[in-house]
């Protein structure tokens, strides 16, 4: 078998492919039930835009998980930067929105840096640190926001149109998410530092013996995750235009869920950001598809849970089969 063909086969057999198929299946079934699910302006728009914010956060989360860490504070970081973005718009209504995007990114990166530094220098599990900052960042958010909220009429129409308008039939938010995704995917695949993140997650001890800049990579993974959450916060402001102290509450589980469903191994070292993005699409589309398929609102969460379990069990079964095959082929060399 030549290498091009085997590469094509490899892509087809990859973890991402399975989830993509599941996503397509959900969309097809819903569309058969109700053609408007895809073939209406709103259906198409919602199909693309609903998961877009989660895609951005899940990309950051996936990178962190690949380094064998986890970031539970993404929801809190999203909330803080959404409120920051809203406040800036209220105070300086004429500020160019591009600048606010940059501020959101930078602010999120700063929060992520705190996480990363604590994990990297404290040599303590990321789960504990980010559980702590989940509480702390949310607390700061509530302290700052109080019972205030920012309402849609305080957010410039320009920004809101970014949050809801489309270019060539594709929502701007989705385009932003896709750009982020492509950059991250390219980086994780083609840059040394991206590959080192995989190495660190695959075997941290070996990475240390090998002399990889483990601490630096882990910190940068958290900075990226923070920046993505910060960006997502601004996108949240653009899309929902109403922000109180609870924006993004509970988002961490969605983000981790998306990554896990998308084939990012929770023990690090494998999976891709593209998979996480597809996971995000699947997770949120399922949510919207269930009522169409006829499953009552109340059971949606249960179905989502069952799906997460199905995805990880399937993924595991495939991985076991794969590694058995590898073991069997090892003697060929001898």
């Amino acid at each position: 078998m030549n290498s091009a063909a085997s590469r094509v086969l490899g892509v087809l057999r990859s973890r991402e492919m399975g989830i993509l198929l599941a996503f397509v299946l959900v969309v097809v079934v819903s569309t058969i039930k109700n053609p408007g699910f895809v073939f209406s302006k709103d259906g198409w728009h919602d199909l693309l835009i609903t998961p877009s914010i989660l895609v951005v956060v899940a990309v950051g989360q996936a990178i962190v998980i690949i380094t064998r860490n986890v970031d539970l504070s993404v929801g809190s970081m999203l909330g803080l930067s959404a409120y920051l973005a809203g406040t800036i718009f209220v105070k300086y209504p004429s500020i160019p929105w591009q600048l606010v995007f940059l501020i959101g990114l930078a602010f999120g990166a700063l929060l992520g840096l705190i996480n990363g530094a604590l994990v990297g220098y404290g040599r303590v599990p990321a789960m504990v640190i980010t559980l702590g900052t989940l509480y702390a960042y949310r607390g700061i958010n509530v302290a700052w926001t109080g019972s205030n909220r920012i309402n849609a009429d305080q957010i410039p129409r320009g920004l809101q149109s970014i949050g809801n308008n489309s270019i060539l039939g594709i929502p701007i938010l989705t385009i932003i998410a896709m750009v982020v995704l492509l950059v991250a995917a390219w980086y994780m695949r083609n840059m040394r530092s991206g590959r080192e993140m995989y190495a660190i997650g695959s075997e941290p001890d070996a990475a240390e013996l090998y002399g990889l800049a483990k601490r630096r990579r882990v910190i940068s993974a958290f900075v990226v995750s923070g920046a993505m959450s910060g960006l997502a916060g601004v996108l949240y402001t653009a899309r929902y235009a109403t922000i109180n102290s609870q924006a993004g509450f509970g988002f961490e589980l969605d983000a981790i869920g998306a990554a896990v469903i998308g084939g990012v191994a929770i023990v690090g070292g494998s999976g891709t950001v593209v998979g996480a993005a597809i996971g995000a699409f699947l997770l949120y589309t399922i949510n919207r598809a269930l009522p169409v398929i006829g499953i009552p609102d109340f059971w949606q969460k249960a179905v989502v849970g069952a799906m997460i379990l199905g995805a990880i069990v399937l993924d595991r079964v495939l991985a076991v089969r794969q590694s058995r095959k590898l073991r069997e082929t090892k003697e060929v060399a001898a």
Partner: protein, 318 residues
């Protein structure tokens, strides 16, 4: 019992006009407005206003706050219940400690409070919403309801009444779905999207919650369903103004939440001072709002809901 000593200040001669508002959650525009009304009343009375509450609308967190207020020995608690039974015991303990308990907006079981300040009768609210949607969609077609949480007492009561009224007076209107946005902006927004994709023939949405109607309006305003799917329900003028002006929403209703808080504060003060006990037939004066009489079930009624539309919305600011 030991509670007597901790609540010592409340048994002193001067009336303890420390009144604390405990809304369903903080950061909710509706309660912001109503509690500001409460503050205005308490300032007029020379009392001490405070507002505490959980970040998310859950009954267990409310219980913790009620317990703390009991420990602190405040004079009165004005609370909007997240669950009609869950916070009952905590409120009873507060009343045992001589704290006056007034519910507003969302009631508890009657035995757990001294008074309920009702913004409008459930019947009146249901009727106004059904009438508005019937008028907007031409009295026939599919409609859906976007409610708050599945457990919200007041919401569920209204929804039940709406169903009865639809069945009896509007046979051509079909209620196809009820979804829950949990009074969370993002959830309500996404649920609206879900409703529209699940029911392509939908003609109207009733959202009897201020968070829900705002989120739904924002979704509709940029969607192609704008002008085709009618939206009405309970909303505040400030939040709905732009959608009324851009034609997304024709008409919606609400009482004045500031008046609700204002009335609740006065009722609480009247109870603390011993002017009333809360029994049916008691009367008291609520500042600029005038005189009120306690009705059946120890309930005080604020009045009828008020309809807002293009013509009158600019006269209001809350």
């Amino acid at each position: 019992s030991s509670t007597g000593t901790t609540a010592g200040t409340s048994s002193s001669k001067a009336a303890n006009l420390a009144i604390t508002f405990l809304p369903k959650n903080l950061g909710n525009a509706y309660f912001d407005t109503s509690d500001k009304g409460g503050k205005k009343a308490i300032d007029e009375l020379g009392g001490k206003y405070a507002e505490v509450g959980p970040a998310a609308a859950a009954p267990d967190a409310q219980v913790q706050y009620i317990n703390t207020l009991t420990q602190q020995g405040v004079g009165g608690i004005v609370v909007s219940a997240n669950d009609k039974a869950a916070i009952c015991d905590a409120l009873t303990a507060a009343m045992d400690a001589k704290i006056k308990v007034v519910t507003y907006d969302s009631d508890t079981n009657p035995e757990c409070r001294n008074l309920f300040i009702n913004q409008a009768t459930a019947d009146g609210i249901a009727k106004v919403e059904v009438d508005m949607i019937a008028k907007q969609i031409g009295d026939s077609g599919e409609i859906a309801i976007l409610s708050a949480s599945a457990n919200a007492t007041n919401q569920n009561a209204w929804i039940d009444l709406m169903k009865t009224q639809l069945a009896s007076s509007h046979p051509n209107i079909k209620l196809v779905d009820t979804v829950y946005g949990n009074d969370d902006d993002q959830t309500s927004f996404d649920k609206t999207a879900g409703l529209l994709s699940a029911h392509p023939n939908l003609k109207g949405i009733i959202s009897p919650t201020t968070v829900g109607i705002t989120a739904a309006a924002r979704y509709l305003s940029t969607s192609s369903a704008k002008g085709k799917v009618f939206l009405t329900g309970l909303g505040t003028p400030n939040q709905m103004r732009q959608y009324v002006k851009d034609g997304t929403v024709t008409e919606f209703a609400l009482w004045n939440p500031a008046d609700l808080g204002y009335l609740a504060a006065y009722a609480s003060a009247a109870l603390i001072k011993g002017d009333i006990t809360g029994k049916t037939g008691d009367t008291f004066t609520a500042g600029t709002l005038g005189k009120f009489t306690v009705g059946a079930n120890n309930t005080v009624l604020l009045g009828d809901p008020y309809k807002f539309n293009k013509d009158n919305i600019d006269q209001f600011n809350f």
